[in-house]
């Protein structure tokens, strides 16, 4: 019975630290995708300015309050605009950015196909 109790405690501790580690990983992932607006070229994760430190704290608080990754991105986007996200969302301002590589791939593929494959036949 005693052994069982000890095992249960160990299991609980491992579980808590795992959950904690997961939260920290997610927090790091989010802060790496946020641009530090006053120290350009750096993410919030990399920066140690007052602004970045406060932002890290806000991300941590939001995660603790059970907010999802997307909700946190939307929050910052609403406050600071699209620019704060390193990975911009798909919308009317960014559709060209997202579709251009696909478009070029298709057009390039079509040219190669026409020039080489059909010619060979």
């Amino acid at each position: 019975m005693k052994l069982f109790k000890y095992l249960a405690i160990i299991f609980l501790i491992i579980n808590i630290s795992l959950a904690n580690a997961e939260n920290i990983n997610l927090q790091n992932k989010i802060t790496k995708n946020l641009r530090c607006l006053i120290c350009q070229g750096q993410s919030i994760y990399d920066s140690d300015t007052e602004f970045a430190n406060s932002l890290k704290l806000v991300v941590k608080q939001k995660l603790e309050n059970g907010k999802s990754e997307d909700e946190i991105y939307s929050f910052f986007q609403e406050k600071y605009g699209e620019w704060i996200l390193y990975d911009p969302k798909f919308n009317k301002n960014t559709y060209f950015l997202w579709l251009l590589p696909v478009l070029m791939f298709i057009i390039g593929g079509a040219i190669i196909f026409k020039l080489f494959i059909i010619k060979k036949k």
Partner: protein
């Protein structure tokens, strides 16, 4: 006819890409935050300065009234520069000045106010900087002009002669 189609098509594509990049060259690559906004003020709970009382943002900002929400700190040099304008606003009965003391110690903030006088009607305390983030602020000093619970103007950096006159015109 077939031979001529491909070069023309390729040139057109390269021309379009060139045009996009050329236009992109003219865009400024530094971040310029927007200052003309009509956003609702954020909702938050905040500790009063030198006081353990917790205030709700709903009880601070009332309808049909102008407020100047000023983020300041004793360690911020430009805050000293804009202080004289805040003192001028204090004389104006049309506007109430709310201060947010940003990442500061009560002792230093007190010294700052004793030295330069207190222009604020209410002072709130933001020890970890999270309230400033709720407002979408970048640092200190930063000032928001609020009317009907909406932010109608945002000044990033210290208030100067130009922005002082501009605010005076709005609240007249």
């Amino acid at each position: 006819m077939k031979i001529k189609f491909y070069p023309a098509f390729l040139i057109l594509i390269f021309f379009i890409i060139f045009l996009i990049f050329y236009k992109g060259l003219q865009n400024p690559n530094t971040y310029t935050p927007s200052v003309e906004i009509k956003k609702n003020i954020p909702e938050f709970k905040v500790k009063k300065f030198k006081n353990e009382k917790i205030l709700n943002s709903k009880d601070i900002f009332l309808d049909n009234k102008f407020y100047l929400f000023n983020i300041w700190a004793s360690w911020c040099v430009p805050c000293r520069e804009e202080h004289k304008y805040l003192m001028k606003f204090k004389k104006d009965k049309n506007i109430e000045i709310i201060g947010l003391n940003y990442k500061d110690s009560d002792e230093n903030a007190n010294e700052f106010l004793n030295e330069l006088k207190n222009p604020y009607d209410i002072i709130l305390s933001d020890l970890d900087g999270t309230i400033a983030i709720e407002w979408g602020a970048y640092g200190v000093p930063e000032t928001f002009l609020i009317h009907d619970k909406k932010i109608i103007k945002k000044i990033i950096g210290p208030i100067n002669e130009y922005s002082f006159i501009e605010i005076e015109e709005i609240i007249k």
